[in-house]
Amino acid sequence: MAVKFFGQFLIEQSVVTSDALLNAIDLQDKNNLKLGEMAVSMGLITASDIQRAHNAQMSKDMKLGDLLVEMGFLTLDQLNDVITRQKNTHLYIGEALVQVGALTSDNLQKQLDAFKADQAGYVSDGIELPIASANNKIWEMTADLTYKMVTRVLNLRFRPGKCTLATSISHNFMLAAMDFAGDAEARYLLSVSEGLQKSIAKAILNEESVDGEPVEILEDTVMEFINVVCGNVAAKASQMGIIMNINPPVTVHSPLGGMPIPDGHKALSFPIHIEDGDTMELILLIKE
């Protein structure tokens, strides 16, 4: 019930051992050459050319391939040839497991089908955002995964409201926050009422009533919920080639008048209208 990669799914299902998976990953590492390594193996550039391009990357925010072209080490056609060769020779983990003898080809197909079914619930349906940002796909996926986790983890029925650009962060009973760092930077905030905090606590603790629970446990359940969402966002992002690191969740205490949007950020608000009439709000503070 989470975003996984295929090797992890196979271990969790006891289809392969962790040793077998590590052998297959070693085989992948030997076979799947990085762009620079592939270009060297094709005789197009030398290791010192790569080193010079890596040094240049320290001061230029460019992909290695683009930089190799800009520095004149590769032509655009040669770069495309290298990328094509990388794609054509890429060894996927399933194939690697077959090669190390941990899976048969027949079983691989069966397991791929099972994996696809397991992960089907995490395929994004698409959400419209009011901004144009290079990472819109990531923010759409973040909202989409939040909705899915509200259903699957919290067992709450809801209707997503229209995403809007917020000018401030409204006060609410509790705000839980987690920061994304890396290729896409943002603060993930979930704003909940007292009633929704209890609903989340009941679902996370799997209890009928949480009336006697201390405040720190109730707050912790909301933080744990966003921790689960953000961890799964990071996993889904890594499948999309985007590295996102997360820090442990925190509670933010907002003043009664709400909070301004920090300079250099845009705030996307995603209202989540719960069946009982209450509303929680996902806010993404996106660093510009």
């Binding site: 992890q8 961890g231 799964n232």
Partner: protein
């Protein structure tokens, strides 16, 4: 009864895991550490056979603790329980450091117990 140490900064996750372990009939929870450093201390004092450990914790994180535990104690079996389990390189790093498995959050009791029983 196999002795299990739970390591997680989240009180609610620790509660969930302790409940699953207590109701299993074949495992007993010997304690709850809130970060990697506490886990290393409690591994010494409580002598668990299995450690269920979060990856992302304030202070010493789970992977750092796993690295230390894999050198200090070759017997204890560590399973990472984390929302970052689906991040391929984190998962691989945990296995390379000696974790026996990685359970992704949100988890289900049946899945947790199946994995613990297979250790």
């Amino acid at each position: 009864m196999k002795r299990v140490l739970v390591v997680d900064d989240s009180l609610s996750v620790a509660r969930q895991l302790e409940k699953i372990i207590a109701e299993s009939g074949d495992f007993t929870c010997v304690g709850h550490a809130k970060n990697g450093a506490e886990a290393i201390k409690m591994n010494h004092t409580e002598n668990p056979e299995i450690i269920c450990m979060d990856m992302n914790m304030p202070g010493m994180d789970g992977l750092t603790a796993l690295r230390t535990l894999s050198v200090m104690d070759k017997e204890v079996k560590v399973v990472m329980v984390t929302s970052l389990g689906g991040v391929g390189d984190k998962f691989t790093e945990a296995l390379k450091l000696g974790a026996k498995n990685v359970i992704s959050k949100p988890f289900e009791a049946d899945n947790v117990l199946r994995i613990l029983r297979e250790l």
